[in-house]
């Protein structure tokens, strides 16, 4: 099966000036990132702040130009399109297919526009519908996400955080896209509302045949929703594996650290961390040589300090670690003999 979207050797460098008159410096937010997402798949991109997960999402939707590399989109009924080579005018038709949902439903909806206009704007911009048909399509998509069409004359402030996130989802879906990039789409929501939105995203996926790129820092949510997970650290992909294999047996030491640090809502599983988490994420402008993770890695050896590991196939995963074959790393699931289903909640 050919990928719906593939990213090849993508790099993104920001130029920053320190202070008002300081020298210009460069920051490599993404270094040589490659990944692909199959039609119908939910691909999660995880990592801590500064790992480049948001920048990657924005480069894919062409919200910012890339420094090197290419992004290729393969529409079902059209020849492959190299998004990174298009100018804005040529990109416009493909923006109907690739849509984005943002983290903060407060700042991503224009407070001066009625909900109807917010959701109708993509239809108007792409001249897809007008008049009565436009109204019907907006009302239809709003009711699919659980917002009553009677409320579409109101402004965003009249809605709760969860409802505002639904409006953001309706705006992304109104053009019937193929690929939706959700950037921390549930992170700002309370748990009970988060569950509503996660279920909604799953339902809409099967209803509209969507493909998701789900950017998140929350591994609990990722385990629930994703088919495959890409782990990023300081602008590099360090591991790319099917969800279950990644959580069962991580192949990269950073993935193991992330899984160990994840608080699991079950007190009988506390104190899973046998060893303390080491160090802090280095500043991006001060990235270590060799493997970017070696300063915090328990298994680091001389080779890691000098030679940068390339992404290569190990088992079901692609891993960027010199010692991926020999390391015995711990996953996040309970051992298979004690199945989690024995733990029932009331």
């Amino acid at each position: 099966m050919s990928a719906l979207l593939s990213v090849e050797n993508l790099s993104k460098t920001f130029t920053i000036r320190s202070g008002l008159v300081g020298p210009l410096r460069t920051l490599d937010a993404l270094s040589d990132v490659s990944l692909s997402v199959a039609p119908g798949e939910t691909l999660a991109i995880v990592g801590e702040s500064g790992c480049g997960k948001t920048t990657l999402g924005r480069c894919i939707v062409k919200a910012m130009p890339v420094t090197a590399g290419k992004v290729t989109y393969r529409p079902p009924d059209h020849a492959p399109v190299e998004i990174t080579a298009l100018d804005n005018r040529a990109m416009k038709p493909w923006r109907r297919d690739i849509r984005m949902i943002f983290q903060d439903p407060m700042s991503s909806l224009n407070p001066n526009m009625r909900v109807f206009d917010i959701v109708a704007e993509p239809l108007r911009v792409h001249k897809v519908a007008r008049g009565r048909e436009l109204e019907n399509r907006v009302a239809d998509v709003l009711s699919r996400v659980g917002i009553s069409p009677d409320a579409m004359g109101r402004y965003p402030h009249a809605f709760s955080g969860g409802q505002r996130q639904r409006i953001g989802i309706a705006r992304a879906l109104v053009l019937e896209p193929k690929l939706v990039i959700a950037d921390e789409a549930v992170s700002a929501l309370d748990v009970s509302i988060q569950a509503q939105v996660l279920n909604l995203l799953e339902d809409l996926k099967s209803e509209f045949g969507l493909t998701y790129i789900f950017v998140s820092h929350d591994l609990g949510v990722v385990n629930y929703i994703a088919d495959r997970v890409v782990v990023m650290y300081l602008g590099h992909v360090v591991e790319n594996a099917p969800t279950e294999s990644l959580f069962e047996r991580p192949r990269h030491p950073y993935t193991e650290v992330l899984l160990e640090a994840l608080p699991i809502a079950d007190p009988t599983r506390r104190n899973r961390r046998e060893k303390a988490v080491r160090g802090e994420i280095p500043y991006l402008g001060n990235r270590p040589t060799g493997c970017p993770f070696h300063t915090r890695c328990r298994h680091a050896q001389d080779r890691c300090r000098s030679e940068k590991p390339a992404l290569r196939k190990v088992g079901q995963a692609e891993v960027a670690c010199h010692f991926a074959e020999s390391l015995e790393l711990k996953g996040a699931y309970e051992p298979a003999s004690v199945t989690p289903s024995t733990r029932t909640l009331a």
């Binding site: 709760s160 385990n223 640090a261 989690p340």
Partner: protein, 348 residues
């Protein structure tokens, strides 16, 4: 550092029937916290968990009398019994009185969610901690600085003597939170209140801070009131957990007991709405709580959870449920547990 011997007879902190109302010139009073009962034993960690707006931070601030000007503790008592001392009703003290100031920062101290906005940006962290020590203890500046350096060392800040001369903006989020913790520990408090101390941090940094708090608690023998919205963090750190919803504590008990067998419908629903760390085959679809949290103005007379509860029946909207003992040290407020024995099985 000698751990204080826990008092057997009296809990360190007992919050009884506390109501906190916010007044506003052009609106009716808003009762943010309607009825809170909490008990905290010396040396233990009590996690206060709930969604935004449930009143967990307001409750914590009330214990230190750090509420805004327009807020008042309109009912109830906050009884604080430091080991070997008389019980004080913090709720009856004036927030700027000498006796309150002798408690605040000294016997009870607090760490906040965002260290950047709770530390002074124009003073070095060393100066801020020195000030705190000299305010409560009769020490010379040099002696205070020695204590500061050893505190910074204990919370795991590398190069503590040099770091004492840095400003908060020069430190990373994790180091800032460590400096904040050092300040809170400066006078070896009996009680540390931590209001979402790891929410703004990355997951690996969060793990480090949680480990640090556990270790310091063992070293100092202090109790912790830990405010969080994250049930994962509760499971990691709590001895006891209290669940709040819209200004009420609906359930309190031992953390293992509450996670194993939650008895209040809200606690049960909350636990079903978080994804479990399970393999695909064992994964269940999330069952979210229907609707949204109503405003405190629309809270029913009776149980606050009525409008979203799948089990709600006649008495729920009008009559407040009693505190019901459902296990050893495990209490919940729900009519199903008292009124209707046939339906109580729904919650078992």
């Amino acid at each position: 550092m000698t751990p204080q011997t826990p008092m057997v007879d009296k809990p360190l902190l007992k919050i009884e029937d506390v109501e906190i109302a916010f007044s506003s010139p052009d609106e009716a009073d808003i009762v943010a916290v309607r009825q809170v009962d909490l008990t905290l034993t010396a040396g233990k960690t009590l996690c206060l968990v709930g969604e935004s707006g449930c009143g967990k931070s307001v409750t914590a601030r009330a214990v230190l009398r750090l509420l805004d000007q327009n807020a008042s503790i309109s009912r109830g008592r906050i009884l604080f019994t430091p080991p070997g001392e008389e019980t004080v009703d913090i709720g009856a003290l004036k927030s700027d009185s000498l006796s309150m100031r002798a408690i605040r920062g000294n016997k009870i101290s607090m760490i906040f969610q965002e260290p950047m906005s709770s530390l002074s940006p124009v003073h070095t962290i060393g100066d801020q901690i020195d000030e705190m020590i000299m305010l409560h203890e009769d020490l010379k500046p040099k002696e205070a600085r020695e204590r500061t350096v050893s505190l910074l060392d204990q919370v795991g800040i590398p190069g503590p003597r040099e770091r004492a001369d840095t400003y908060p903006f020069q430190l990373s989020g994790g180091l800032r939170q460590r400096a904040m913790i050092a300040m809170a520990l400066a006078c070896t408090p009996n009680l540390l209140i931590a209001d979402e101390p790891t929410t703004a941090l990355d997951v690996t940094t969060q793990a480090q801070i949680l480990d640090l708090l556990k270790k310091l608690q063992d070293d100092y023998g202090m109790a912790m009131l830990f405010i969080t919205h994250d049930l994962g963090v509760v499971a990691e750190i709590a001895d006891e957990v209290a669940v709040m919803y819209l200004g009420d504590v609906v359930e309190q008990g031992d953390v293992f007991e509450v996670f194993r067998a939650p008895r209040h419908p809200y606690t049960q629903a909350l636990m079903r709405s978080i994804p479990t760390m399970a393999r695909k085959a064992d994964r269940q679809r999330l069952s979210p709580i229907k609707g949204t949290v109503p405003s405190a103005k629309d809270r029913p007379q009776g149980c606050a959870f009525t409008s979203r509860c799948p089990h709600a029946f006649e008495p729920c909207p009008t009559v407040r449920p009693e505190r019901t003992q459902v296990g050893e040290g495990h209490v919940a407020r729900c009519h199903l547990l008292t009124q209707d024995t046939t339906r109580a099985e729904e919650l078992a």
